[in-house]
Amino acid sequence: MLSGFLKTVRKVYFCHSFVLWMILVILPVGVSVFMLDMFSSQIVQHIPIGIVGQDHSRLADKLEMSLRSSPVLDLKMLCIDMNECEHAVIRGELQSFIVIPNDLERRSYRFETPVIPIYSSGQNYLTNMFATKEIRAVITDVGASMFTAQIQDPVRTEIHSVGNVNGNYQGFLALGLVAALFHLAAMLVGVFIGSFPLRDHCVREMLGYAKGSRVTLYLASAIPMDIILWLGSMACYAYCHRALTPMTLNEFVMVSAAQLFMIVACSGAGFTFVGVVGIMRIATGVAGVVGGPAFAFAGQTYPLMAMPFAVRCFAFLLPLTHALKIQSMMLLGDVGLEPSWEVLKLLIGMAIFWNIFGAFVMFMRWKQHVKLETNREQKRLAELAANADCLEGAK
């Protein structure tokens, strides 16, 4: 069985087209590294803002200087009127603008509490959140220093993001995106490896290498792919994690296990798609429909609890949801270890189910294709024999 297994592995992985290695290694790892580098500046900075300066007092100048000195903001435009700034927001050149009202200083000193309006685009959720938060902090600081500089604020708040101390975007998003990419990769590669013997009409040949054993053929197709994808995903995870709190051994082991079972479950699902539809194009399309938007459903960007019930059910069926849950639990350190076991058991269950189901439908499909290939071969031989008879007759 071992020699059959090794022969089949060689035939599937080393005697095939460049496309397989492209989708198995180059694209998932390359796209993951690309995504990580995209967030290399880690936190949102230099958000473009504008000012409509209706007041020309010292206080207005001080406000402008304070806004200029903030690293989060980039004062890009001093508009003549609101219309100019509003159109800059529409063009995407500004995220927010501040109107410094007429007589700001005079009215402030008279305790008339003039309101400073801040107009924010609202379209880009994250950038707007950071911009308005920073503008509020800057203006409040300037205001607090006017009359009550010597009186401290009685309450100060500090917001800590556990497991991601700096609020690093790579930690927030890229960790999840890497898992999502490998989730999709496992489905696509599962589809590719499952379907190319069908597409190239070489099921009989592949079974020959596997010494006629469909179990050997299935294992030789699935195992190397799962291992390669798993190693790739763990390398990308470790690369991404370097900007966060150092990983503990527990975290490493638990996340590795989660990634492995996610990949095994997804590759099993890929084989299932092929077994059910039987055509690479359609099966790839199905894998794309299921795996492509999986990240949107997995609850990391938009929480699961805010989704409709039916969507939550669908999300529950995605291995990615559970793998991300384990990843996020492990960011919290040892307190997340115990509950993550329960989630891991679920992932193991999924991996077993999809592989048994995938193997079953693939066995049926291979059986059908062996018959088809035999019939085709017999037909071809019959045609050849007929042609030979004709030729002899002609002679």
Partner: protein, 394 residues
């Protein structure tokens, strides 16, 4: 180039969208299915009532007041009040809560003694949206307590009336107005960008699946030698492009009239900018697809490639992470893609009601892309028509 022949090619290609199973999936089903599939998770639009906890180490009247205020906040729901931090950490580990606020020991006593206290707020590091919602809700509550006490301190210390003390604490209050997406809806932020990406990706993959403007396509066994397959390069190229163009114009119209209505997205787009956008965007994407399609030898290879690239392409379009924070090489790479300019242009037109002058620079860039890809597409198809290759089904 004769019009009847061109239309015949276009019509033959359009029929293929509904008869070739792979094309149906990409050019018909994907555009319809994804338009409903993507917005569904965000149907409630905003996140509210995020489960959180309060760790009360003070047990004073003020700490109870703070807890009550947190319970009244819309964004969060206080699930428990714990006696120590470990209990809260364990609950967060089980994901029963996603954040907690620690009311420090002797908070009330320290505030009365005019000593500054620090209220720590802990959020789950993996969830960016929850981090914002929890942080804002808890800090608003704590700052309100702080503000009330500061006003008292000012009034007593400076011997001024409370109204003046309030003005001294905050001489110029701010008022934040949202110009667009007033409700802070997450779907308004995500879905419009994704819809444009769906159009681009499904169109490019669809063109590649059908072999672009190639002659004698091998997968069309019965019709490989038909006159339509054997048309002149110009007729083939523009005829097939016309089919894609008309087909995808209906998608844009469908999104504008149906999807935006069903999911209650703002529809501020005027006719002229939308029409110009549709023309230059589809021209850029179709020609880009025609170029890319000449690279593949197998029909499904484009699908395998572009499915991986959807997420980075979306992020390159200034969707969530600002483009100016990306490395220069990535920014340069993004100029190759129509979506880099199309996504911001569509958002400006449809979500913000931009006029033609506001979006002109982006539309010009799309038009330039369309021309460059048109020339490349014609040239590559010409080369491909001359080649004979054995591998694959294209």
């Amino acid at each position: 180039m004769k019009m009847p022949r061109l239309l015949k090619v276009a019509f033959t290609e359009w029929k293929l969208f509904y008869t070739d199973p792979a094309a149906v999936l990409l050019l018909v089903v994907a555009g319809l299915l994804y338009a409903f599939y993507y917005p569904t998770p965000y149907i409630y639009q905003t996140v509210s009532k995020v489960p959180v906890a309060v760790v009360d180490l003070d047990h004073s009247g003020m700490s109870r007041q703070l807890t009550q205020m947190a319970k009244a906040a819309q964004q969060i729901e206080v699930k428990a009040v714990y006696e120590d931090i470990i209990q809260a950490e364990e609950a967060m580990g089980r994901e029963e809560i996603f954040g907690f606020m620690v009311v420090p020991e002797n908070m009330e006593k320290d505030i009365r003694r005019q000593k500054q206290v620090t209220v720590n707020i802990f959020t789950h590091g993996a969830y960016v949206m929850l981090h914002g919602a929890i942080g804002t809700a808890f800090s608003t509550c704590a700052m309100t307590i702080g503000a009330t006490n500061k006003v008292k301190q000012i009034a007593l210390g400076k011997r001024v009336p409370s109204s003046q003390a309030m003005a001294m604490r905050e001489p110029f209050p701010i008022s934040i107005q949202t110009l667009f997406n007033n409700t802070g809806s997450y779907s308004n932020y995500v879905v419009p960008s994704v819809l444009i990406l769906i159009l681009q990706q499904s169109l490019i993959i669809g063109i590649c699946i059908l072999g672009g403007s190639r002659a004698h396509r091998r997968f069309r066994r019965k019709f490989r030698e038909s006159p339509v397959e054997n048309e002149t390069l110009i007729n083939r190229y523009f005829g097939r492009s016309l089919a894609y163009f008309v087909h995808y114009c209906t998608f844009i119209l469908f999104y504008h009239c149906v999807i935006y209505n069903i999911f209650d997205f703002p529809r501020r787009g005027e006719f002229l900018p939308m029409a110009v956008f549709a023309v230059v965007f589809l021209a850029a994407v179709i020609n880009f697809g025609m170029v890319i399609s000449q690279v593949f030898l197998r029909r499904e290879s484009s699908m395998q490639l572009f499915l991986y690239l959807s997420i980075p392409i979306l992020f390159l379009a200034n969707f969530s992470w600002p483009t100016y924070l990306m490395p220069d090489t990535m920014r340069a790479l993004s100029y190759v893609l129509p979506s880099t300019f199309a996504v911001p242009a569509w958002i400006s037109i449809e979500q913000m009601g931009a006029d033609i002058y506001d979006v002109a620079p982006k539309l010009y860039t799309l038009a330039i892309q369309a021309v460059i890809y048109l020339v490349m597409g014609l040239w590559l198809t010409h080369i491909r028509d001359k080649c004979h290759f054995e591998a694959g089904d294209m």
